[in-house]
Symmetry: D2
């Protein structure tokens, strides 16, 4: 058997561990041939690929990013400047030209949607979810998330000492367009006093009063963790908007930090390496058992799979009854809502 692997969408720590997991299992256990396709789906269009030997898979476990490169090309969405007319058709032809028996698509929600459409076109597809945002529907957790939470928490830890020395309110914006998973987890792990999530409508009065109450109780500094996707006036940064509001309403000295792209780079955490390895190894098993059209996932600590068509187009958000939210509330954390 000959299988292809590609990574698409935003990169995250652990993709290489997943590629290694698929590749090594395919080669060592099943004697398959493994092809690495460059730059996401565009490598399938312009036939940009190379054979992945055991040797090439060696030493990449700890490397951040993706050795295959990535792109945000969406084959099923015509884009301005397209030179290839029918991209899905070209991909199908090249899939056969390359002699592939299966294709592993590593990516986030958008990639899994494309994977599903390719599967419906008759290709043998396995989806493999990855994103630091942890918002892929159908799986309990994605690799990249633990690493991103580590980086964000480390930043919050650093802000604590400077907030304390200067008696300031420090606002930190972490990634998460629609889903506030990184904000919630790094906020709780970092001991944030206020955590604003895209999923929870906040009230600026609640935020301001919470900070003033803390100040009156002799707690001279506060940490506010903000998910980038919270509702703010158009084109404004979440942190800048919230910071300015706090300063105006409370008079407390406030500073903002936007963590940005450092959250998605660097060597993956051990937990992410293991999760990515398990995902990758299982993808090879699914190919071996010809369980195509499915996405690897983890449910209740068990690696399993779900049909790709159940995944496509959905986003996993934080439920307002989320138990970690409740526990944090019980300990005095404010989520910005009237509770």
């Amino acid at each position: 058997m000959k299988i292809g692997i590609l990574s698409a969408g935003g990169d995250c720590p652990g993709i290489n561990a997943a590629i290694r997991g698929v590749g090594k299992t395919a080669i060592v256990k099943y004697g398959m041939e493994v092809i690495g396709i460059s730059n996401g789906f565009s490598g399938l269009i312009d036939m940009n690929y190379e054979v992945l030997t055991e040797k090439k898979l060696s030493g990449i476990l700890t490397v951040g990013g993706t050795i295959l490169g990535t792109s945000r090309i969406k084959p099923f969405k015509p884009q301005e400047g397209d030179t290839v007319e029918d991209k899905p058709q070209v991909i199908k032809e090249n899939y056969h030209n390359m002699g592939l028996d299966a294709l592993v698509c590593i990516g986030g929600n958008g990639t899994q949607r494309t994977a599903n459409l390719l599967s419906k076109e008759g290709l043998n597809i396995i989806g493999l979810p990855k994103t630091i945002d942890n918002d892929v529907w159908g799986t309990d957790v994605t690799f990249g998330f633990d690493s991103a939470v580590n980086i964000a928490t480390d930043a919050i830890d650093r802000l604590h000492t400077t907030a304390n020395s200067h008696k300031r309110v420090m606002v930190i914006e972490v990634m998460g367009h629609n889903a506030g998973w990184i904000a919630l987890y790094s906020g709780v792990a970092g001991g944030g006093d206020i955590i604003l999530l895209p999923e929870v409508e906040y009230d600026m009065d609640v935020v301001a009063n919470t900070l003033l109450n803390r100040s009156e109780k002799g707690k001279p500094y506060s940490i506010v963790v903000v998910g980038e996707g919270i509702k703010v006036p158009k084109k404004k940064s979440a942190a800048r908007f919230i910071g300015k509001q706090i300063q105006e309403r409370t008079g407390l000295e406030t500073r903002e930090t936007i963590l940005g792209y450092t959250q998605r780079g660097g060597t993956p955490s051990p937990a992410d390496r293991i999760l990515a390895t398990r995902y990758g190894a299982y993808a090879a098993e699914l190919i071996h058992t010809k369980n195509f059209g499915s996405m690897v996932c983890i449910k209740n600590n068990q690696i399993t799979s779900i049909p790709l068509e159940e995944v496509g187009g959905k986003t996993k958000l934080i439920d307002l009854n989320n138990r970690l939210v409740t526990k944090a509330r019980n300990m005095g954390v404010c989520f910005g809502d009237k509770f």
Copy 2:
């Protein structure tokens, strides 16, 4: 209500996060009074304790070790040099003298056994499992484990570069008396070539041949991860014994590292802070609902509890059909057994 908290047995990262979780939830949510008992069960014998206010619980989330101190005193086991005759009786009296309505016992297997015996004596006990070894029966994972795996994996990462430069076999011994969880997880996360677990009988010929095969295939260096509890001649260190055997049987240059106590110290990982916080918060909930005689645990990602009497005296070992072991095997990792 007035509740006590103590930590007993070996320390690990996250205990303070758990203490904070219990305490803040008890104070903020339930209006309880919280007492911190010093140095494990010995603080109950010599009445060494202090009130834990919200302020005292502030800032300890990231601190390693335990602010309460710990000891390895076993109240139900008479020991040489005991000055107190009937320790359980003294503990019972002091529990009542201190006006406690419940007692949270943070600790490993030994502590949970004691907790169960105290519960049978009529005290209102909540067990809260902690250990870097991850071997507490009845829970999927304990806090401290992720931090220890991080430290061990970081060490393996470092050894990789020096092994590679010198073309050496590097043997690293990680903690785990009966259970090889740290060895398994850090071994997979660190890309170990051979992983020896206390649960798997190894054959020195298999180990030697695996290394010679790698060498012949042009892989000039190898990493061997060893759980400290594997069977070796009495009083020998696992790493030293295995290292010497490898050197003698293969002639490959071999060096050993024993990671030791650095594995249990330092600031907890974000994942451990969150797990410990959830455990702690749930312990307070169990007290509020008077679910005494139970231990907090996590099952399928859900915090819940099990009766203390089901836990006592058991150890959670790695099953030979463990899926991570199988996946690692499929990728070419050797576990030292004839497979």
Copy 3:
């Protein structure tokens, strides 16, 4: 003898190590009494202080920020809203009321200027330089700088992997208002391709051409490190401005990161702990030998001192003949100027 210590201005990693160095040496070696003054010079105005015992100095070596707190109050500059009319006079009186024989002022350029003025007023002052920016005149290096360079370099390392995966230009802005030390050192340590310093006038054409040349040579991604103090249109962030210019002039996909306050927080690096300890210990020696009116400094690896009046009001900038700049140029690093 009775001595006071205060920290003023922006906080940085290592202040507590310096406080500990002064305090332990003063107590253990010279039998002095040590007073910790709260919140910079404002603690001298409102008599907010506490005795620092050996015990209170224990365990603070690794703690970020400053246990004494800090403020940006400038006693010799009347400010709007001042309630105290003649602050220098009040400080002098309180210095005597507190029975101080000497005062150690830990801070950056502004603090050393104030220290000099207080010295001229007749107080026994020792200046102790600190700043992550490394721009205090009269000393080769300040503590806080190594820690800040570590944090910035770590961020650049992370951006490398994501830049590589996405074939992007990543622009990162690091601290440094007038002096580009952090940009230079983290830029070289992180392998930055272009480094823009406040001290070097950059030409946007040079920057754009360098990036295009790299792109044409098959180097699909680049790292641009930017000191926050480079010349850009008013109120613009350095990174945002440069990033937008690059995108417009080259068409290369460009992303920006502003590192912000995370650079000044957290536990100090070992090198900073040692430097701060040496500074602190030497400050106590200077008090013992009554060498007042001087600032601790390091010259050619040797701790020594210079008169405070030589320091005040000057800033240590990067010389254009700086050897590290030259060496980096020789290796192909672009500093944005026509060279």
Copy 4:
């Protein structure tokens, strides 16, 4: 011009940064051709080498170990099993066969001795010092040292929390055969209570009394940092011997950790990357100006060079009047001697 680079002796963080510094400067600035010789001097004997292009030098700045490999072969010392009779002669011939105009030898004291002998044989040699031990004579500091101190200090930080929780004496052994630089710097940076250096004769009574005094003063735990090269009975580990002595003489619960090979692996610290880069760049400059027979060094923060023949065979030890030792003593640190 055509130049060769090799790395010999024990590896350390920063060698690749130095190789990159030499190579990029030689190629970009001087248009030289650069050859990487494999596995130290043995690559010169068996003609094992490859051309180092700019592309091959890219991305190695942060990589631990050495991409060239290393070996401990000493060409001027006949060894058992030698198949090559006159190794220096073979090296000379191959140097000419390869068309080399100069050779950069990266290594510690032993390597610099060999470099000097080859220089005397008429080859154009530049020595480039490296070692985590910081004991190369003739230079203020070597790269690798800062990284090793960081790793050792991190370990001491971790031991602090567990020592504190358990009220134990923790003994930690760090690298350094004859020179105690790592022990001194990590000991001071980690807040060690007792630091034993190979250069200072210790008295076990002093050690024991210091610990007992601390214990009596209510300091329930202590950290003892031990250089591996201190005098202990033959074949004993320094940490084990000292630990056992402490336990026997004081009755205090004592635990030992031997840090081992993790100290020499992993990505170099930013400071080491910069130092190695400066060393490397300067080596290329020395070749350009034909200053052969010299070793790159740093004196008073300035990169310069000294004749190789002044270096050979000497070791830089800690002077007993070392100012950091004195400052640490003044703060209460015990060095095990009757002072």
